[in-house]
Symmetry: C2
Subunit: 356 residues, 2 copies
Amino acid sequence: MDQSPPRNTSVTVADVAHKAGVSKATAARVLGGYGTVSDRVREAVTAAARALDYRPNELARSMTTGRSGTIGVVVGDIENPFFSLAVRGITDVARQAGFTVILINSGEDVPAEKAAIRTLLAKRVDGLIVSPAKESDVEHLREAIRSGLPLALLDRGSDTLDVDTVIADDRHAAEGVTRRLIALGHRRIAYLTACDTPDHRFRTAADINTGSVRRRIEGFLGVCREANLDGMEDWVHVGAVTPEHTHRMAAAMLRTPQRPTAIIASDSLIGLEVFKVCRELDLGIPGDLSLVSFHDADWTSVTTPPVTVVRQPVYGLGETAAKLLVERLNGKAGAANRIVLRTEVVDRASIADARV
Amino acid sequence: MDQSPPRNTSVTVADVAHKAGVSKATAARVLGGYGTVSDRVREAVTAAARALDYRPNELARSMTTGRSGTIGVVVGDIENPFFSLAVRGITDVARQAGFTVILINSGEDVPAEKAAIRTLLAKRVDGLIVSPAKESDVEHLREAIRSGLPLALLDRGSDTLDVDTVIADDRHAAEGVTRRLIALGHRRIAYLTACDTPDHRFRTAADINTGSVRRRIEGFLGVCREANLDGMEDWVHVGAVTPEHTHRMAAAMLRTPQRPTAIIASDSLIGLEVFKVCRELDLGIPGDLSLVSFHDADWTSVTTPPVTVVRQPVYGLGETAAKLLVERLNGKAGAANRIVLRTEVVDRASIADARV
DNA sequence: TTGAAAGCGGTACCAC
DNA sequence: GTGGTACCGCTTTCAA
């Protein structure tokens, strides 16, 4: 007897139908789980399918139904703990709702982001979750929307795009930490971000295209103005795009006589690098420098001293965006939701009075 | 004049062909970039495509060609920095080779892994990169191979699976750190891993189904035996599956009078948790406890003291696996490659003499 | 060089 | 309940 497993060079509905002695249409009904079939036939078809090791071809299915069961996700960089956690939130919700996730990194580069969207559209994803690299450059997203594709924005909104958006209350968080630093007597407070401008210099918040970061800087500058601190724009440093860049920038900044007495790091990667530079320069935290970082990365609680951070609901950000998208995918209509999740400052021990 | 953008409810080759006044076949040839066409016709078709805002349907294309331009990746958990870095390596290579990546988390759960593979097969990915949760349970992978799908194994091999495999020299690394600890006088050395056994107790390395970890434990036990340390099996603790579990285990272990004088953490998540527990219990590192962790996570260099780690070429692991897969995808035949990448111990300050 | 037509593997509509 | 069949959008012979 031939014991070898059936050579499964793609067993099709037709094959199963043939073996079960029914029509292709009938076999398709039981295999696809739609329509009505008699129990007898159902069993026969099921048995035949098992014997032949039938595997549905999702591609073919998608082509006729128009649904691919896939959602496309475009983020800046999965390597950043912020995004990997958010992506986790997304995939958890997606899987539970029966969707698969295709993940593409944009590297915070608009052309790459455009290419990613194009690829995703070509693959006929059912919906899109994007963390736009630049809020000002979203024509490609607008196009996607126009073509009827549900889209949800993650961590970064867009005033001109009327779509479901989930962000954190970054401005409020930035205001809080800035106020606190000022209250402690700090006047030379630097804000360090990966976001870049064409000439790598900061002039006004409007130059910052990453929404979440722009809002933080607006909050920071706003509070400074309230406190009659002028020209704080000079203390905003952009372009900390890699650990190496960050390291160089932080070192340069901290070596000057008029060095900042406090630094606000826009993400945990930057916070970490600043921490390292302080070690190298033998600057005490918080004695010589107060440090606050956005993102409650896991390591921030074990350093000496532990780092005061802005805790964002990162997992929730992804989770919520995915939930909104899934709802749309299930046909929910209605105006775009703009959800703002609360942040919280986790007080640890990296900030102190400014030595005047 | 009607200025509104063309309603692009899926513009097809036929539409473009019609507008350009050529046959569907001809339009398809220029749109798909194959066959030969006259320049005149090419231009006409191109113009028509642009005017209509034609977007190829990859799904349909894949269905006829049988290639989807997609590679499926199944890892334990993207949230683990180890995997997110490896995935980065994979996606970088994949994108450069023109492939898109579909990422699925298995949560180190075999049933989930099986489901993931099934999904990926149904989506007709061109190839697979998997980090098998259990090396002993790979029937689903064998099936994938049988159906002709190129597969590459990441970080965890399988003796019974004859496929391209990329791992790190975990055994060697474990031997090195164990030797060093023993030389420093340590006798009570604990090994802590997330891998679990049915009854959450460790007896023999054969119980460990995650290849990379099994090899490390084998190395650890081997060196212990060489040094005439017996019964070290009792010092291997399994089931540190979440930070909470790890915390509990570490705390319990470190509160006993016969507590270990050294701990080897199987990944950075575990290392971090051990570090936290020491803080809570007011145990000095390395005074009261020596700590070595696998994975050179970014935070390990900023703690006090900085942590001695085994640096694995994580990005390279992903990169290499993807390269091997892409080669197969491009038709390369030949025996399976088994690549072992070198690790290195990064000496920092978390280990010291055992207080006897 | 170009066109007509046959699939790919499903789904879905319409008779029987 | 079941079978026949026309698609879905693209690729790919095969002729002209």
